[in-house]
Amino acid sequence: MEQPEQESVTSLQQPQTAAPPRAQPAPEPEAYSEPGSTVFDAEKVSCYYGSFRAVTDVSLSIYENEITAFIGPSGCGKTTVLRTLNRMNDLVASARVEGDVRYRGASLYGKDVSPIAVRRRIGMVFQKPNPFPKSIYDNVAYGPRINGEHNRKKLDEIVERSLRQAALWDEVKNRLKASGLGLSGGQAQRLCIARTLAVEPDVILMDEPCSALDPIATSAIEDLMRDIKSRYTIVIVTHNMQQATRVSDRTAFFSVLRNEESDTRTGVLVEYGRTEQIFHDPSDSRTEAYVTGQVG
């Protein structure tokens, strides 16, 4: 809870993207408001699992109230980078992060930073829906409860609001006491999103949230992401390039760098920029090969 808030400071910082300056396409479809402040500034972040370097030297900035997509082939470290943003990698015993990630100006990996406080602000939705073996109501009320909210009326309000935001309310309002495990895959994933929204985080990290869902459930979740974008900052890892073009404002393309000498593979950030630019005018040949479907 003692996370320092320095929102005004961060607006002074220039975005440090890997994309070269010339890559900005001249005509913008509907004039983007120039991003105000950055939420995350990663500088030369490298992640290790034991002695294995999974990701190397990632530097990027993530902007407020935007949807940022991480794309790239399997094993390129998208998820690892995502998990450094709310210190989920702390839960893996052998994981280690080098470099600096600043969240609204404060270093996430500083000495006194509590990962608990970080995760209360930076929520996460996982690849596989993971509702708790509790009722639908208790699933959504879980986060507010662990944060000390026990007022029955307030909890009712939070549960309804979160379920409405997650576009699940109409489907479950008559069975809030039923098990969260009885929901279909798409419903369960929306329940997990509602659970995350219930703690009113600042940022929502999504790790391939639609990979287990059918197109209809996927489109429901994409609509939901667009709906809540004005209030939250969203970072999404996806294998689905169409999804990145549909929902994201910016895209980061990661790739795998092979080291022939030591026979190791490391994830690198190849290119980062506006989604249209990455998909229509990529400046790196690897990005072009990937987004046009020549590889991967």
Binding site: N86, M88, L91, A93, I116, A117, R119, R120, R121, G123, M124, F126, K128, N130, P131, F132, P133, K134, S135, Y142, G143, R145, I146, N147, S179, G180, L181, G182, C192, R195, T196, V199
Partner: protein, 295 residues
């Protein structure tokens, strides 16, 4: 549309050696099952047949008579009271400690040296014969203080502890990691995650594991031989003076030459089986009840 031309398509099971192997394996499994069930059923029938006729309210409550007394005199009241005292005390000591130990092993210790030592010691303790556990308590407790129900409870607790640790450990291992991550991602502390997600998800298995350990302990004789002795009247204070238990009473009565005492042993055996059976049923019921939300 598929039209079969020429030879008829053969979708029947393959003949020959593969089918024979299947038959042999099936027969072997059925035979093994029957071989296992025969002694069980035989024991059950014998105990019920010989024990049922002595069971009465008087038998369950009356003081224990001298061995020479005929079957219709006295009962095993003190033994039932003693069993509940001793097993209850052992449960209060061993179950919370075992569950906490398993939580440490699974959630906190990781692969650290202390967790590995505890896990190894629990495995070693499981292999210690129960009579050795009784001698252990005899030498460290009874010789210094006195025979008492509490000493028996200590011995039973030592037997239950590794069983509870191991069964709880297995149940906690079954809790899927994504559940823990989901809770951490909402800003929960480790203690919260353990209390509100991991334990509720595993509680059915933990409780039934503990009840099975209790049922096992209730039937133990050897650890009680050197720790509680036997008495003929109810000892209301489990912390002082010799006590008795159903298994001890069975042991004493069954080895005596008098038919009345032997009949009382059969009755006591039936009582013990019924107690164990009730505990098993409770374990089943609790497991079913707590897994309400798991599907």
């Amino acid at each position: 549309m598929v039209t079969t031309t020429g030879e008829q398509l053969n979708l029947r099971e393959a003949k020959g050696w593969r089918r024979t192997k299947n038959r042999i394996a099936t027969v072997l499994m059925v035979v093994a099952f029957v071989l296992v069930v025969i002694p069980l059923v035989f024991v059950l029938i014998t105990v019920v047949a010989r024990g049922i006729k002595i069971i009465s309210w008087q038998f369950l409550t009356a003081q224990i008579p001298p061995s020479v007394a005929p079957a219709d005199v006295g009962g095993i009241g003190p033994a039932i009271v003693g069993t509940f005292q001793i097993v209850g005390l052992a449960t209060v000591m061993a179950v919370p400690l075992g569950i906490l130990g398993a939580i440490y092993l699974n959630e906190y210790g990781g692969r650290g040296p202390l967790a590995r030592l505890i896990g190894f010691m629990a495995d070693v303790m499981t292999g210690v014969p129960s009579i050795v556990m009784g001698l252990f308590i005899f030498s460290i407790w009874v010789l210094r203080f006195q025979f008492s129900g509490f000493a028996g409870a200590l011995a039973l607790g030592c037997l239950m502890l590794p069983v509870v640790i191991r069964s709880t450990d297995e149940m906690l291992k079954l809790v899927p990691n994504p559940l823990r991550e989901g809770s951490y991602a909402l800003g929960a502390t480790k203690a919260r995650v353990t209390m509100t997600v991991v334990l509720p998800a595993a509680v059915g298995g933990i409780v039934s594991g503990a009840l099975l350990a209790i049922a096992r302990a209730a039937g133990e004789t050897a650890p009680l031989l050197f720790t509680i002795l036997t008495v003929t009247a109810v000892n209301r204070n489990p912390f002082s003076g010799p006590n008795t238990s159903i298994p001890s009473q069975i042991f004493v009565n069954a080895t005596s030459p008098y038919p009345g005492a032997q009949d009382r042993a059969w009755g006591a055996a039936l009582t013990l089986i019924v107690i164990a059976f009730v505990l098993m049923l409770a374990a089943r019921f609790i497991t079913a009840r707590f897994t309400r939300y798991s599907r």
